[in-house]
């Protein structure tokens, strides 16, 4: 028991000793270590945009932005703990969360705390401005992404689709929602098969042979990068071309062409943010930042993080402007104004990462395009498509 108190006293002492580095705190957590760490550019990019503002513009309205970044480890209890630290100890004006599970578990808490919360989840379950007025996401939901893929198939005259998905909420939830909505039938398509697999799968050979037997026009994967790699590898073994397969925005990782080489050629993904290195104004900012700082992840997920930084910074700026150019002393009022600032973003230019966004519906960008692996790199193969 002595250890308990000793460690607690040490922890609390250190907490108390942590200086308040700035008047404005945007608190972030991501999967720094954990199963989906491959996409943690979303957290780094978010943090780095504020560092960029601090270094080039002295922050926002002359106030430096403090951006503590924690590791959620893709574990619910860890994320819930991080949230409490962000809100209570760090006094964050906005919290950048990670998983769908945490966004759902925290819904009531966020309503009570009245703190704006920008999740990295794309689950439709966390977007409801009336019920959850403080929860925001940064793009099209998984359901909307799937519909883009299906619309593309219908447009090209395809008829049969196979839905291949992980056996967790991230995999099964959106698939069930889209099927229930009747949208697939409305597009004149049929679901030839639904194949569920373990999220930690290492082999999908049997599933790919099943796909081959059904001879679909499209296989849509609702899973993350590691599973997409397994699917593409085993599809090649079964003699199926990568061009038959399409994934969501979490399958646009450079790891896929890097690990699979020729077996990944033709694989398509839903792309919601411009690729890293695109010729857009936001990339110029990133390049300027990269001259003096190390960029942890040079991928599309980092671009998403940068995107989030831009919209949140604009909301904070609007809140400060409304308060007469000063940071409101009352944190609760400041949080409310930041929320209002986010909702008030209309045709906001995000430097080309996505088309201009409106945040009244708490989603921001609802546009996406299809990207294809050509010569080992993702190349957009169409224009931005409105998902709604």
């Amino acid at each position: 028991m002595k250890t308990i108190f000793g460690a607690m006293a040490l922890g609390m002492g250190l907490a108390a000793a942590t200086p308040a580095a700035a008047d404005i705190t945007v608190c972030i957590w991501g999967t720094i270590t954990g199963p989906d760490a491959l996409v943690n550019g979303m957290a780094y990019g978010f943090r780095d945009y504020f560092q960029y503002l601090n270094q080039t513009k002295g922050g926002i309205a002359g106030q430096k932005i403090n951006t503590p970044l924690f590791d959620g480890r893709y574990k619910l209890d860890e994320e819930l703990k991080n949230y409490r630290r962000c809100v209570d100890e760090e006094k964050a004006v906005l919290v950048g969360g990670w998983s769908t599970g945490a966004a759902k578990a925290l819904r009531d808490q966020i309503n009570t705390d009245q703190v704006p919360y920008l999740a990295d989840s794309f689950s439709a379950d966390v977007v409801n401005p009336e019920k959850y007025p403080y929860e925001f996401i940064a793009g099209a939901t998984y359901e909307q992404q799937l519909l883009i893929g299906l619309r593309d198939l219908a447009k090209k005259g395809g008829k049969k689709v196979i839905l291949l998905y992980a056996d967790n909420e991230y995999g099964r939830g959106p698939i069930n929602n889209v099927i229930k909505s009747g949208a697939i039938k409305d597009l004149g398509l049929t679901v030839a098969d639904r194949i569920e697999f373990r999220y930690d799968t290492q082999d999908l050979t049997a599933q790919m042979l099943r796909v081959k037997a059904a001879a679909p026009d499209l296989v849509y994967i609702q899973a993350s990068t590691p599973q997409a790699i397994v699917a593409l590898r085993d599809a090649a073994k079964a003699g199926l071309p990568a061009s038959l397969i399409m994934g969501n925005m979490y399958n646009i990782s450079p790891a896929i062409p890097k690990q699979l080489g020729a077996a990944a050629e033709g694989f398509r993904s839903i792309q919601m943010y411009s690729e890293y290195g695109a010729k857009i104004p936001a990339q110029q900012e990133i390049d300027a930042y990269a001259q003096k700082n190390e960029v942890e992840r040079k991928d599309v997920y980092f671009m998403k993080g940068w995107f989030k930084g831009k919209v949140v910074a604009a909301a904070i700026e609007a809140a400060i402007k409304k308060a007469g150019g000063k940071v409101p002393e009352d944190l609760a009022a400041f949080r409310k104004e930041v929320r209002a600032g986010l909702e008030g973003l209309k045709d906001f230019d995000v430097g080309g990462i996505t088309p201009p966004v409106n945040y009244a519906d708490h989603q921001g960008s609802k546009q996406a395009r299809i990207s294809e692996i050509k010569n080992g790199a993702y190349v957009p193969v169409g224009e931005w498509i409105q998902t709604k």
Partner: protein, 343 residues
């Protein structure tokens, strides 16, 4: 149980509750999580540490508790929902234990591992009760009609439940049943020779463990307000096992110390890393490395865990203090004698 120990336990529980009350939500949440984990660690220690049966189903049993408590809580049942969680855990243990306890040693361990996977799958499958992969959103627990709304309140509830659980388990482990657990652990043949019904004793340990695992899971569900299949996977069983290895096999206070250690070590490492301005990714790696290394160190240097280490330290301090007292008393006597002779 000696009244002195009960009193010490009570005073410690009250002190921790006091800390939770004056702390912010972050600290209160950690205290609540730590207390819930400690209940689970104690329950696993009954099976592994006291009865010598290795079980890997702890995570799933906690999950059963979380779902049952969540459903009961959502239906408006108050505190009894935690009891319901315990009973459900016990029933599931009976179902697993009746066939599995025919097996011994590693075979039993593998059977519990299979049970863990089956139950995990059922969490995803039994949609009407579990809400499938989406997870079950849980309403705040109502105590006497008033919903608990703050982390401080949940910390109070969790620490109070931990204290009561410790009282009950400590009692069980000191009566005949507890002694039978230990005899079975030391040798089933010898236990049979002493007239102990080995199968019944093992089933008893497993059922008692299941009750408290379910209770702990119920608390976890209410604290996190969500029960989802990913929260009760094998890794949770491994975490709880780590707690009793670090704390001390066959020791209830050791389970509590182990739970506190495993819960707090990452926090302390994180804060130290932040004070040293270490980058997040490095900090996470260091956190994991320190945790792994410490487990290895304990296994090699002190397999009986922190409880034994503290016990030894306590005895050493006592010896030194009594040695000083003896020396002081001796010198006083000598001084008095010398003075007596002089006068």
């Amino acid at each position: 149980m000696a009244w002195r120990r009960i009193l010490i336990g009570f005073v410690l529980a009250v002190a921790v509750i006091g800390i939770a009350q004056v702390s912010n939500r972050y600290t209160a949440f950690i205290i609540a999580s730590m207390a819930a984990a400690a209940i689970s660690a104690m329950s696993l220690n009954v099976v592994i540490g006291f009865c010598g049966q290795i079980s890997f189903a702890q995570g799933a049993l906690m999950g059963v508790g979380a779902y049952v408590a969540g459903n009961l809580g959502n239906a408006g049942v108050g505190l009894p929902s935690l009891l319901g969680a315990g009973v459900a855990g016990m029933l599931v243990c009976t179902l697993i234990g009746l066939p599995a306890l025919r097996l011994r040693g590693l075979y039993f361990a593998i059977a519990t591992l299979a049970a863990q996977f089956i139950i995990e799958y059922l969490f995803k499958l039994l949609q009407p009760w579990t809400n499938g992969v989406s997870g079950l959103s849980i309403s705040p627990l109502k105590v006497f009609g008033t919903p608990l709304s703050t982390d401080q309140q949940y910390a109070t509830l969790a620490v109070a439940t931990l204290f009561l659980s410790w009282l009950v388990l400590d009692r069980i482990c000191t009566v005949d049943l507890g002694r039978a657990f230990r005899v079975v652990r030391e040798g089933e043949l010898a236990a049979r020779g002493m007239g102990i019904d080995v199968r019944r004793t093992k089933l008893g340990a497993f059922m008692i463990s299941g009750f408290f695992a379910g209770l702990s899971g119920g608390l976890v569900g209410f604290i996190s307000r969500l029960a989802n299949p990913e929260g009760f996977e094998l890794v949770l069983s491994v975490d709880i096992t780590a707690m009793i290895i670090v704390g001390g096999l066959g020791s209830l206070p050791g389970s509590i110390i182990g739970a506190a250690f495993v819960t707090l070590l990452p926090e302390v490492t994180e804060r130290l890393g932040e004070a040293l301005h270490l980058a997040s990714d490095r900090l996470s790696a260091i956190r994991e490395i320190i945790f792994g290394l410490l487990i290895i160190v304990f296994l090699v240097l002190e397999p009986r865990g922190l409880a034994a280490l503290f016990g030894r330290l306590g005895r050493a301090v006592k010896r030194r203090m009594s040695g000083r007292r003896d020396a002081a008393a001796k010198s006083t006597t000598v001084k008095t004698e010398t003075e007596g002779r002089t006068t």
